[in-house]
Structures are given as C-alpha cells and as structure tokens.
Symmetry: C2
Subunit: 394 residues, 2 copies
C-alpha cells in the first residue's frame, strides 16, 4: 500500500467511555482534539465567517468541497497560489471530500461507468470527468490534510443498486490509494452499503483490509430514517479498526452529534449550522429557535443565556429578529457565529464528558432537554447536503 | 429658541487651511475628530459589518435612517429597548436623518402639503404621515446624538419648485426647533435651494438666523452635475456660521470628500463604500477597482499595497475575486471593511494635512493619482442614495 508508509495523519485514542471516544488527531497543520465538528467551507469560505472568526471560535478543522473548488476557481489555480490553506488564509487542518457526493447529486447531469463519472457543471454546463485518479490529483493540488476516496453514494434502500455501488466504491478506493502520492496528506476510505447491515459489514471489512489511516461512513443522512441511521452506525463502528479515526460524513444536528459520538464516531461535518443561520434559525440547549418568531420582537435576552459567543454577549433577540426580518447580512453573520460556536462547544463538552467517564450522563441530560425538530430535521439535513451544490447553499 | 439653550453637541474649530477645517465635535457619546465620514447604518446596521468591526476601523460616528427604523422595527420599540445605541450595540455618536429624503424619493407613494407629507410604506403599503413635529419625536425616540429637521429635497433644476420647497423647508425647520425637547440631542438645520445661488444664499441666511447648533447642506448629489455641486458648495459654506459644524448629506466618493473638505465641510455620510462593496468594487489610491475583473484571477497582491485593514493584510485579489464571483458573503464583508477603512483613513489624512497647513498639496497629490469614475460615479452616487430605500440597498 503506498498510503500505508509513514502517515502524515495519525491518531491517538486517549480514552473510551463505552463506545464513545476521546482522541487526538495529528495533522501537518496541527493537532485536532476529537470528537470534532468541522464547519463546511464549500467554496473556500465557511459561509458568512472570516478565518479570524473561526479562530476566535477555536474551530479545529474545516471541510472544503472538491467539486466546487475544482469548478471554481480551479484546483490548479489554487495550487499555483500556494494551496488551499494559503488561498483562504486558514492555518489549521482542512479536510476535503472527493466531490463524488456532489456529482451523484447532479442526477440528470451525470453519466456513470466503472472507471468514473462524467458530469456537467452546474455553473456553465461544461462537461467534466471524475475518476479515482483525478479526484486524488485534485485534492493533492488543493493540499488538504485529509483527502477522501471517490465513492458512489447511492439511494440507500435499493439492495441490488446499493450492492453494485458499494463494490464499485471498493474498486475506486483501491485505485485512489494507488494514485495517491502526496506525503503530507492522508487519504481516508469510505464505507458504503446503504441501510443494509450485511453490505455495511462487507464494506467495512473490505476497506479495513486496505489499511487506510482513517475511515469515513458515507451514505447516511441522505434520506433514510433516523432509526436506520443509528442502527447502521451501531453495526458499522465496531467493525472499524479501533486505532483509526472514524468520520461520519454530512451529519451535524446537535442530537446526531451526541448519538454519533455515543457510537464511536470521531469526526463530523455538516452545512447545517451555517445554512440554518441563513434562514434565521439558531441552536439553543432547548432546541432550535427561529429568530423570525414574533415572540422575540421585544425580547431583551440573548439567543442563549450564558453563551460566550460575540452574538450572545452583545445583542438581544429583539435586535437579531430585526436584522433577520430586514434580511441584513449582520443577522446571518451573528446567527452563523452562534450556531458554529454552539456545535463546537457541544463537541468540547462531549469530549470532556468522555475523559471524565461521564458520557452517558451528559448524553442523557442533553437529549432530555434538547427538543429535536423531528422529521423536519432529517429533511432539512438532507436538503442541506444537497444544497452544497452551487448557489443553492447560500 | 428651545434648542439654543445648553447644547448637547458643541464644536471646536481647531485649525483652518484656506477653507478646509479641522475640528472637534463634542457629543453625548464622545468626541468626533472632523472632518469625518459617517458610514451609513440604514436599518440599524452598517451593511455587512458588526459594531466591533467599526470600532476596529475607528469609525467615529455613523448615520442611521429614520424612515427605515420608523417603519421597522419602529421607533417606540427601539425607545423601549433603551434607544438606538443600545439596540445596535454602538457606543459612539449616531446621526439620524429626518426621513424626508426617503419619503420624497417615494414619488408615487406620497402626498405633500404645507404641514407635512403623507406616504405609503415601501414594505407593506400602509399609510403614514411625517410632520416636522413627528420626525423630531421619532428621532428623540431613537435617541441619536444629532437629529435633522424635516426638509423637502426637490429636483434641483426647477426654480419655482425649488423656491417653494425651500420656503416650506424653512417653515418646517422652525417647527422642528419648537418641537424639539431632548436635552441630550442636537438638531441640525438643512440648507436647500437646488442649483440656484440666490436661493442657496436665502436658505443659508434664513437658517443661520434660527441659530442651529449645526448646518447640513441638502439637495446635492441628487442628479446635478459635479460642477454644479462644487459651485453651490463654494457659494454656500462661506455663508454658514464659522463656529458651527457643516454637514454635506449623502456625499462620499473619495474625490467628493476631498473637494468637500476643501470647501469647508466637516461631516459627510454616504452608502457608497458599503454599496460598492456589495457589487465587488473597492477603492484604491488609483481609483475604483472591480474585483470581478479577470485580471485579478491569479493576482497575489492585496487590494491596496500597504493598507492596514484586515482584508488587505490577509487576502489576495485572487481570493477576493473568487469570493466575489462565487457571491460569498465573506467577499462582501472584506470589500466593505476595506472600503470603509479607505474613506476613514482618507478623512484622517485630510485632517492631518489641514493641521499641518499642507491641505492644498495633499489635495493636489490625491486628485492627481485618483482616477475618478466620471459620470458613472455621479450616477452611482445618486442611485446609492435612492437605494437607501428598502431592500434595494442590499
């Protein structure tokens, strides 16, 4: 295995509390305390935030989207400008996806075969092709700390299709490993298999045999029920190597983060906190709150009592509601700042609970108080992932 | 005169260099070094910037729009929430306009008589009425440091109409003075008279007789030529009391700021820096630059070499172009930050030049280098003022 030589990314598992884990991920751009939530910087910017805001929030790592950056401004351009970290002035680790998820979301615009996928740009309709080798090359040009293999993210309920997509994903994973050359970048594998436990087990075993430095769980939070997602997580994480980090792709609602950590996941990413903020929705320990609600018209309280973020220490719900109703950018900025802070703080609290051996109590207390947005949350989450595409995610 | 008792706002003229002045404006929320440019916070936020950004840029004073805040969220609500400073978390001085300019821009939606103007909201079509007494009351509810009288801003080239509007403005100025009660707020008069020197002189004399603590020059930068604007300024400022501050409303292009200071103006406001930023245009010492230009695709330089703002010290034109092409909020934020910094720094430089007695040389050097955007600049500026209305200014 080319990638199994000296690894640029390594993982120390520091503590376990049942299945929940606390660890330290070492990368060329510094260490990341896990479990960790990665805000999404789709187009080389976490929407509405500046890098200095993310540093103030102490975000350990962000995700950027290969599909978007490949199309605009182009990976070769970013490479000539010194790589993605320098381009966007982000000094900490960056994780890039392979672009596969976005391309498969294009549906009418793409054509798949065993060696890759041909698609049309959502920006200008131009034709492009992603192969395992090509997405590795693009991510090497971007210079992310963690790159992902090309995978096929199938509709999760059609057994025959999910099986075929999974086996193609395994072939592509091997091809990606062979193509990968950059010594200062780690390449993670992706477990697929839809909602089927036998396929998930086959996928976990096949990828574990390839000895990746980390494993992602893909194809979840794409339309299946929450019960299905948790059942699959319960089934998959025990099959993954304990010593390697696990990354649950595209998941980021507070309750899912708690449940993911409870099942041994170390890394998460999602556009949810930034996307919700653009719709005036903010996280509180009691659940989501929409700032447009007339109840906030004269409310002198902050979004969340005791929260230490700039939005909560300086502004009332009344003012934030006014900004939101008036569609002012400052409303989006402050809501985004709070939402990202909320998830980062949740992850810090979860990690501390694991280290204290009190994860179960923390989880119970959090979920008892946090009112989940039911089916709506799942739909929003799926929409949020789909909305990564183009101008939709704004 | 009620308002001529102890004044909450006073002005020290510290130095003159020909007609250019350097002063210190004392207000209930602190001192303002003049000449000063006020960024515009139309809806209780300077678009795309947080108060902490404005403090970082050392903005001495901002303007807020009475028309917008009266309609949404309402002046009485802001009063109950502790006033505009507290509502928007801005600790420094605030200047409010009277709302007259916006109402007269509504054209089809308003009906004028000698005691006020009835208009329909651009938000929901509801009917409202502004009288001199009412706009004073609203501004007292907002709690700005400097309030403005209700004036009629007429099309500047129709002599008979401009004359009638001016005389109505004078009657309204007296009515505003009589209605004004708040001891911690100053009320400024507004000189009108279009492009006609005799009317401007009549207006300046009439208002000077009312002994306002400060004087605005209204009805400029509303469609007249640049030559007309400068000619009227040349004519009006010598007729205003030397000891009182002069405020040129709605003017803010770099070249107009220099020419305004050259003619003895102390205070300016304009949406231009924030509005241009939302269109990808940024100020440089050589003139405006549009970040969309393909020439910036791989340009490693900052917007302006040597500029100390966060945008210029951390990001390349290549990255800013990418953000602008991708319509990312961060692009608007960074461009706004730079543009506001550029104008604030220009004002600091102009003031320093006056204090050194070297204003003429500074002016000559600045204008020799700065490429003015000709007619387009005037049109943009006029559009920018009109765009203060509603969602248009975003």
């Amino acid at each position: 295995m080319v990638a199994s030589a000296v690894q640029p990314v390594s993982f120390d598992l520091l503590a376990r509390d049942d299945a929940a884990r606390a660890g330290l991920l070492h990368t060329p751009h510094g260490d990341v305390a896990t479990p960790v939530f990665c805000p999404v910087g789709t187009q080389a910017t976490v929407k509405a935030l500046a890098p200095r805001d993310l540093l103030e929030l102490d975000a350990p790592m962000i995700l950027a989207n290969t599909y978007h950056l490949y199309l605009r401004p182009g990976a070769a351009l970013i490479a000539r400008l010194g790589g993605l970290h320098r381009f966007m002035d982000w000094p900490r680790p960056i994780l890039t996806d392979s672009g596969g998820f976005q391309v498969f979301s294009l549906q009418e615009l793409r054509k798949l075969d065993d060696t890759g996928v041909t698609f049309r740009s959502h920006i200008d309709g131009s034709e492009h092709r992603f192969t395992p080798e090509r997405v590795v090359e693009i991510q090497e040009q971007l210079g992310s700390d963690i790159a992902m293999v090309l995978d096929e993210c199938a509709e999760p309920h059609d057994y025959a299709y999910v099986q075929a997509a999974m086996r193609r994903t395994h072939l592509w994973a091997e091809a990606c490993l062979k193509a990968h050359t950059r010594a200062d970048q780690a390449l993670f594998g992706i477990v697929q298999g839809g909602v089927f436990e036998d396929l998930r087990a086959e996928s976990a075993r096949a990828l574990a045999a390839l000895d990746f430095p980390g494993y992602a769980i893909g194809g979840l939070s794409v339309g299946e029920t929450k019960a299905d997602m948790l059942r699959i997580l319960d089934h998959v994480t025990p099959l993954l190597p304990q010593a390697k980090p696990r990354y649950l792709m595209g998941v980021g609602s507070p309750e899912d983060l708690v449940e993911g950590v409870a099942r041994g996941v170390d890394i998460f990413d999602c556009v949810l906190p930034t996307r919700l903020a653009r719709n005036g929705a903010v996280f509180t320990p009691d659940g989501r709150m929409n700032l447009r609600n007339a109840a906030h018209t004269e409310d002198r309280r902050p979004i969340q009592e005791g929260c230490t973020c700039y939005a909560c220490t300086h502004f009332t719900r009344a003012y934030l509601r006014h900004l939101t109703m008036s569609r002012e950018i400052l409303g989006v900025y402050l809501s985004t700042l709070h939402n990202v802070h909320f998830l980062l703080q949740l992850m810090r609290d979860l990690r501390a609970a694991v280290l204290r051996g009190e994860f179960a109590a923390y989880r119970e207390a959090f979920l008892a108080r946090y009112r989940v947005a039911d089916g709506e949350a799942r739909t929003q989450n799926r929409r949020a992932r789909q909305a990564r595409l183009g101008g939709a995610d704004r």
